[in-house]
Point group: C2
Chain length 301, copies 2
């Protein structure tokens, strides 16, 4: 496969950070040989099922852009991956999206049973908050701000759980552009935006930089979801690690189904432009943040 | 019904506190007419299904014993009820304990469907952490300590989720006394102990008082579980608000099945004595804390 220069750049950046995140996750997660083994094995199965670590990389990259050392960012970065993984486990359950395959592997409930999958998701959410509250490299004030950000982004009425419910309710319904964007702003956008914000908060950046990063993060979230929807239509199972075309069969409203592929691509390009425009307002080198946006626009999985 | 003096005392104490907790929960929970309505309705359904508010009352009573004003305790008290309610919703699911009735009413998934029940539990857990992190009556340090306590008590390897998994694994197995107590120390004991500790932490009590309260709380947790198991055997559906005899039919290991009823009653009396003995080491009036232990020993629902 040929990669353009922006992909090579992101790829080396991401590979290094992903390895550091994976090491930290391994250290922070309970061991499989510690009871309750079944739940711990299920937690680890889903966390180490081959995720891109997009949210942790975003925390690290934003934080480092504003001068925070990696070790102060790493636990919060992992907390985002735990929240994300918990949501995947619960969303895949039979009563929700009923997915058997995720990242090319059996989903958590297929491998460990529904009860263990529900508990593993529950415990991953709890662990995310435990990790941030216990991160003694950060001031108490910073930890409280991070927990407040993560909880609002994960819950209702404007966070991830709200988005999943809106998404379930929208199945088999004709929905318009505003409705679709509202779903995704909460379902995936809120957590991605919060990841960007938390990197900036740990770096104690100014409130105007935080506002800019919020703008960047929110466009990144939109871009992420549009390209995710497009990949479901255009990609192969091999590249995607899950069955493509699933959204259409589930009668899910997606950017591809609401806009058509060409217009969805234009909308992705616009979100990319808006993210890049936000970065121009920052007085720090933002090459790595640019690379994340470039990667999302052109990704193939 | 005739009530002994200890029940009258606890009853009036509990009624007043329960009303304050319910008001606060109503204020803190998202409104049913705010989207996602189905999940918000499911959250409220389970929170307001008639719980005794035992954990919040414990937070309030311990905190007030050591001089904390009620308004500083109330949000943390509510956070415990939200964590407890989330665990009930998930434990009742078909793949877990498969319960249709809770406190005399249809369980959350029976009333709102499994997807909404899973999401309502998820969102209640998130909200618990959001509430504590946002409680600006407390210092940042106190909030971090509370979140750390709650998350350890709710998660794995020693908290509530671990206990639920141990409990599921123990079904249809012969288990001994040590194993049973280990299950319940995590499944119900950890959160009850943490509720007592968090009241003491908000009141900024000394570390020796905190250790004493931990001892009291852990005996209270044991007492709570033993009398819960006994009520499942000896009570009527009307008094209990759920189908009695359910544990035996599910082949659950309980204090009644492992010890027999008489010995389980003795074990309850011992836990009560130990809780009272702990309170004698505290240099504050502990009448209300005594009343809670008395109530648990003699409760009928």
């Amino acid at each position: 496969m040929n990669m353009g220069p922006e992909k090579v750049f992101f790829s080396s950046l991401a590979t290094a950070k992903r390895a550091r995140v994976d090491e930290a996750l391994d250290r922070l997660l309970p061991r499989e040989d510690e009871a309750p083994r079944n739940v711990h094995a299920a937690m680890r199965w889903s966390v180490f099922a081959g995720g891109k670590r997009f949210r942790p990389i975003l925390v690290l990259t934003v934080g480092e852009t504003f001068g925070a050392p990696e070790e102060q960012l790493l636990q919060t970065a992992c907390a985002f991956e735990l929240i994300h993984t918990y949501s995947l486990i619960h969303d895949d359950l039979p009563s929700m999206d009923d997915d058997d395959l995720r990242r090319g592997k059996p989903t958590c409930h297929v491998k460990y049973g529904e009860a263990a999958a529900i508990l593993a998701g529950d415990a991953l959410q709890t662990l995310a908050f435990e990790i941030v509250s216990g991160d003694d490299q950060l001031s108490f004030e910073t930890r409280v701000r991070l927990i407040s950000e993560i909880s609002r982004a994960a819950g209702t009425p404007h966070g991830m759980v709200a988005g999943q419910e809106h998404d379930l309710e929208a199945e088999r319904k004709q929905i318009d552009y505003q409705h679709l964007e509202a779903i995704h702003r909460s379902k995936t956008g809120a957590l991605i935006t919060a990841a960007a914000r938390c990197g900036a908060i740990i770096a104690q950046c100014s409130s105007s930089d935080l506002a800019t990063i919020t703008d960047y993060g929110s466009n990144l979230g939109l871009l992420f979801q549009i390209t995710d929807d497009l990949l479901d239509v255009t990609s192969t199972a091999e590249a995607l690690g899950k069955t493509p075309g699933k959204d259409a069969r589930a009668h899910k409203a997606t950017y591809a189904s609401v806009f058509g592929i060409d217009q969805a691509r234009e909308r992705a390009q616009q979100a990319h432009n808006d993210a890049q425009a936000a970065l121009k307002r920052i007085n720090q080198p933002t090459d790595n943040l640019c690379a994340i946006a470039d990667f999302l626009l052109t990704r193939e999985s």
